[in-house]
């Protein structure tokens, strides 16, 4: 995967949310939501994040990842289910017309900074 690029994007976006008078305070935690369908490896992401945040307000910050399970909704019978094996065929009606409703997230939820 491209965890280094993702880590860069996270820092870029999160930096734009730091207050103007942040000075030499520190970011303690970055809260992320990552869907299981994205193929992102959280440990690799943390590794890249630690490297690129040296000597920045994000140095030492925890990357807290909330895993999001893959879910799909059947357009034929409206059944919504958690996709825990690689199949998007509706387990209820065997239909093949489903939409992914969760599992592709790659979101920054919030950042936590020292008081």
């Amino acid at each position: 995967m491209h965890e280094m690029g993702i880590a860069n994007q996270i820092v870029e976006i999160a930096s734009s949310y730091l207050p103007d008078n942040f000075d030499d305070r520190r970011v303690e935690r970055v809260n992320l939501k990552i869907g299981k369908l994205t193929g992102i490896v959280p440990d690799s992401l943390r590794f890249c994040f630690d490297i690129i945040t040296k000597d920045t307000p994000f140095s030492g910050a925890e990357l807290k990842v909330e895993d999001v399970s893959v879910k799909a909704r059947c357009n034929d019978c409206d059944n919504e289910w958690t996709v825990d094996q690689a199949s998007f065929i509706c387990p209820k009606c065997n239909g093949g017309n489903a939409d992914i409703t969760a599992g592709r997230e790659l979101d920054i939820v919030s950042i936590e900074v020292a008081e």
Partner: protein, 219 residues
């Protein structure tokens, strides 16, 4: 103190992809993004595709590779304008991103192009995540790979609009269970067209180009 952010990490790419999509629509260019693992035969498929659909459909190609211009050199022989993108100039990336397409497309005369084919970097993971502003995504799988690739890389097979199963001329020499591969694709994307072909011999090729021509004419 918690500061709410609630932003997609790939926001910047998605905005650029929408910008590309608007430009291509304005110029009347239909765009397909062809993805696969390395060595599945993308370039051979595109060589034959170009020979088959040109000059009727004015086609250009953007080729992504980590390095070298080998694929672009092969495709340029068709007479189609080809832009080579080497991602090592962008940090050795494993996928093409929307800003790379914007830059490459600016080197093409979009007013004189009906179809733009993007040959993505050989990789079944990362390119699936990056919208380029294309109309259709196509995944290529070859019979020298595992039958279970679709279930190993579900996002790729889910986001694509059609699949090509290439190198079927090799089936007599392999233990490959083709039906298992097709079934594996169907699990992930039940209604997706699957074109079984050999880009080398041309066997099964017309179904693919007929489909592509129809998609372009319906744009």
């Amino acid at each position: 103190m918690e500061i709410k952010v609630v932003r997609k990490v790939l926001d910047a790419n998605e905005k650029m992809a929408e910008q590309n999509r608007a430009l291509f629509k304005d110029k009347g260019v239909f765009v397909i993004n062809v993805m696969s693992s390395p060595g599945s035969g993308k370039t051979t498929i595109l060589e034959r595709t170009l020979n088959n659909i040109m000059p009727g459909i004015k086609t250009a190609v953007i080729v992504g590779d980590v390095s070298t211009t080998h694929d672009a050199d092969r495709l340029a022989k068709s007479g189609a304008p080809v832009v080579q993108v080497n991602t090592d100039a962008f940090g050795g990336d494993c996928h093409l991103a929307a800003h790379v397409i914007e830059n490459a497309a600016s080197q093409l005369d979009l007013d004189n192009i009906d179809l733009l084919i993007v040959e993505n970097i050989g990789n079944l993971v990362c390119p699936a995540e990056f919208d380029l502003g294309e109309n259709l995504k196509v995944v290529v799988l070859s019979v020298t790979e595992g039958e279970d690739k679709p279930v190993k890389y579900p996002l790729m097979f889910r986001v694509c609009d059609s699949a090509i199963l290439n190198k079927i001329d090799l089936l007599p020499y392999l233990d490959y269970e083709k039906d298992l591969a097709v079934e594996s694709i169907r699990k992930i994307h039940p209604d997706m067209p699957v074109f079984e072909m050999s880009a080398k011999t041309g066997d099964g090729f017309d179904a693919w180009t007929d489909w592509l021509k129809r998609c372009v004419s319906e744009k």
